[in-house]
């Protein structure tokens, strides 16, 4: 017969998978009642069975998670992304707890860390006693903090009338304690003096009290005992993989030796430290498990709170700024040694920047998984047959970009399903396979990320769109528009081509929401469509939002940054044109006339135009435009800062950066400049 414990483990793993799936969905759609219920059920079941087969601690742990989801279900607790993150961590932790019926200090510590974190968000009446007791003064939840207290009483303690129990009792009154007690290395079995103290204790205390309150318990013994009180940051608690070694019980290399030798050796080890060989074995198994995790060929990953990454990026940003100013100084000083150092520092800070970037990058595939489900469910609801193909799941995007991209993508998929793909009958009549195909792909394109959503549906109908837009007053009645101008009209606010509002894409938001979301990400969106064949949306996104390589240019005293990845080349232009008043005109570039824009005119900057101007040719999407400035200064790494409210709506600018000399440079929004240039071009 199978051991019930094994049955439970297998069953619990299934529930854990269910929980994880639910959480991943909830992260994107926090109100999904079905998934909340699924998560609750998973925790409830694990809790119940765990108690039956002797996993008491696991039962206790999952009990709190069950409570949490209960509160989420009642609407008492909002499932924030941060909370989701913690619950995911809790799910991973449950996996670890499944290994042993009685977890060691390390795992218990992690349990308490997670529970303390969850308790922070729980409504007061749901929280267990220690936390509830702290809410007498203010309704604000008092932070539960974890401490590791290392106690080595003096060898003469017992003879001096100093017992350890009073101290332990006092610590227990401060909060919830987990104590580990073992012999220190002064204990020698053959030479044991019962009146000497050989004990070494380690207490993990989770309390709302501060360090002073803890230290107070040791007030009479602090001169003779070695007592260390260390605050453990929640994030750190997860990295305490070597607690056993830290306890001084065994040395790292001994652990490995022991594990590879006979069980008898484990008993010998117990003679040197721990109370019982079972405990040693258990602790060693735990340790080995942790080590295996770290050492296996698959890389171990850690979860880091977003704000820490943001802080890192900020620091790197500052470094990059400082670097830029040092570069300028080095250049102007003419000091070779200084220039050399600046160059070296440049290399290092660029490397650091790249790594910091890379840390924030996540494969887009994590969002893809969710779409597959969405397409499946929606197509069933709509009575359509649709296959979702995905490509480039490994393409990496900045986490922030990725998070903000999820909603627009969902909406576009809905749109393609609803308006693009025909029902099977229509498709058969049109001579197409009954099963429609929507393809979602991500790839790198000219230093940016290209995301394409392609369907093989009926395509956009320009006439219908134009009629609708005219009806809605989005375009003048007599306007003559090219097809490529008509398609983008579907992104206009309040536009909807569907004759009747379906409950799929007609959920109160239109494609204008998609447009503004992509704009917010400094991306661009283009439409290609062929009637009867299908539609393709192309979204171009910057890989990150925080730092860009830029080309610094100047007009009079004012400096601007042009995103470098869009710069094609810089040319000198001598003013001979006959449009002195217009801030745009056409210039000749590689045998082509392209629109150009003079920044001095665009931003009404003072000063006289130099006789020889510089024009930066940039490529926006598929078209080139020229930006004419006084001077091209050079490459400049830029940390993008949001503009204050005053400038937020200033057209043509997407942000600002602080320069090494303390001045400010505007970062040009080439997309909007291109639109301006094109318009002026047409008007002329």
């Amino acid at each position: 017969m199978t051991d019930p414990i094994n049955t439970f483990r297998a069953e619990a793993k299934e529930h854990l998978d269910a929980l994880e799936q639910a959480l991943l969905d909830l992260e994107l759609e926090p109100d999904n009642a079905g998934q909340i219920a699924a998560a609750f059920r998973a925790m409830h079941t694990i809790k119940g069975s765990a108690g039956m087969v002797g996993f008491d601690h696991l039962s206790y742990f999952t009990h709190h998670l069950e409570n949490l989801f209960e509160s989420v279900r009642n609407g008492k607790v909002a499932l924030t992304p941060e909370l989701c993150q913690w619950v995911l961590q809790a799910a991973d932790h449950i996996g670890d707890l499944l290994l042993n019926t009685e977890p060691g200090a390390e795992l218990t510590l992690i349990s308490e860390t997670i529970l303390a974190k969850l308790a922070d968000v729980m409504p007061a009446n749901m929280v267990a006693a220690p936390v509830a007791a702290t809410q007498k003064k203010s309704t604000k939840t008092v932070k539960v903090q974890l401490y590791r207290i290392d106690i080595k009483p003096h060898q003469q303690s017992f003879c001096e009338g100093l017992d350890i129990f009073p101290v332990l009792r006092e610590l227990n009154e401060l909060g919830s304690c987990h104590t580990t007690c073992f012999f220190s290395d002064t204990f020698v079995a053959d030479n044991f003096d019962p009146e000497s103290c050989y004990l070494h204790l380690q207490v993990l205390l989770s309390t709302t009290k501060n360090k002073d309150a803890i230290a107070d318990a040791f007030i009479f013994v602090n001169e003779d005992w070695s007592v260390q009180i260390v605050k453990i940051e929640p994030e750190e608690a997860h990295r305490l993989g070597d607690l056993l070694v830290a306890q001084g019980v065994v040395e790292a290399k001994v652990v490995d030796e022991i594990l590879q030798s006979q069980p008898k050796t484990g008993e010998l080890l117990s003679g040197s430290g721990l109370v019982k060989p079972e405990q040693v074995q258990r602790a060693l198994a735990e340790q080995q498990y942790i080590r295996n995790q770290a050492g296996s060929s698959e890389e171990q990953s850690i979860r880091v709170p977003q704000h820490k990454l943001d802080a890192l990026m900020d620091q790197v940003g500052e470094l990059v700024i400082l670097q830029a100013s040092l570069d300028q100084l080095a250049l102007s000083s003419g000091n070779d040694r200084l220039a050399e150092l600046a160059e070296e520092l440049n290399r290092l800070s660029n490397g650091l920047r790249d790594i910091a970037f890379d840390i924030r990058m996540l494969p887009i595939g994590s969002t893809f998984a969710r779409f597959r489900r969405l397409v499946r469910d929606l197509s069933r609801d709509l009575g359509k047959e649709v296959l979702l193909e995905t490509n480039g799941a490994e393409t990496e995007l900045d986490k922030v970009v990725l998070d903000k991209l999820a909603d627009p993508l969902v909406h576009m998929l809905r749109n393609s399903l609803d308006h693009g793909i025909e029902n099977p009958e229509q498709r058969r009549l049109a001579g197409k396979p009954e099963k429609g195909v929507i393809s979602l792909s991500a790839s790198h394109y000219q230093g940016q990320i290209l995301i394409e959503i392609t369907d093989d549906g009926k395509g956009l109908d320009p006439e219908k769109i134009l009629a609708k837009a005219t009806e809605r007053g989005l375009v003048a009645e007599d306007a003559v528009l090219d097809v490529s101008d008509i398609y983008p009209l579907i992104f206009a606010a309040g536009f909807s081509t569907a004759d009747k509002v379906s409950d799929v894409s007609g959920r109160g938001v239109g494609m204008d929401v998609v447009r503004s979301a992509i704009d917010a990400l400094q991306g661009q969106i283009h439409i290609e469509s062929e009637p009867g064949k299908g539609t393709r949306f192309r979204i171009l996104l910057p890989m990150t939002l925080s730092i860009i390589d830029g080309l610094m240019v100047a007009v009079s005293e004012q400096r601007f940054i042009v995103p470098l990845n869009m710069v094609e080349e810089c040319i000198e232009t001598i003013e001979t044109e006959a449009h002195p008043r217009s801030d745009t005109c056409l210039i000749q570039h590689r045998g082509q006339l392209i629109p150009r824009l003079r920044l001095r005119d665009k931003f009404s900057l003072p000063g006289k135009r130099p006789a020889i101007e510089q024009t930066v040719i940039v490529r926006v999407g598929d078209e080139a435009i020229g930006i004419t400035v006084d001077e091209v200064i050079g490459n400049h790494q830029t940390v993008i800062r949001n503009l204050g409210r005053l400038y937020r709506d200033a057209p043509g600018v997407m942000g600002a950066t602080i320069l090494g000399d303390g001045g400010i440079a505007m970062i040009l929004d080439l997309l909007s400049l291109a639109v301006t240039a094109r318009k002026r071009d047409m008007n002329n």
């Binding site: 017992f158 009338g161 100093l162 009073p166 101290v167 009792r169 006092e170 009146e195 007030i219 013994v221």
Partner: protein, 121 residues
């Protein structure tokens, strides 16, 4: 947990305050007026968990008493809490030599006394 505590002080009021506080915390209290009296009380009672003693007392002072008490087999490991005044700093070094670790400076609030007692017994 209830403990038996010997309180030694020549001041009746101090004894009263200390006894009252200890009794309110559920402890049993034996009172003695000086060192000589205290040694006698120790012999009369086979089990005392904690000695709380003043330093300056007639007949036999606190430290001499503690020294004598610790010489008795039944009390060699019994914890001691000394009550002293601000000026008694030099006595601390003396007390340390005979194994007295815990000191409480008079005047003190009853809570402080109880907190000290819980740290010792």
């Amino acid at each position: 947990m209830s403990k038996t505590i010997l309180v030694v002080d020549d001041s009746a009021s101090v004894r009263q305050v200390v006894s009252l506080a200890l009794k309110s915390a559920g402890h049993q209290v034996i009172e003695a007026v000086d060192g000589v009296d205290a040694l006698k009380k120790l012999d009369d009672n086979k089990k005392v968990h904690l000695i709380v003693s003043d330093v300056n007392m007639p007949n036999m002072d606190g430290l001499s008493f503690v020294k004598a008490a610790k010489a008795k087999a039944e009390y060699r490991f019994t914890p001691v809490l000394m009550l002293t005044t601000e000026s008694g700093e030099d006595k601390k070094a003396e007390g340390k030599a005979i194994g007295v670790k815990a000191w409480l400076v008079k005047p003190f609030k009853p809570e402080l006394l109880l907190s000290a007692v819980t740290k010792l017994a």
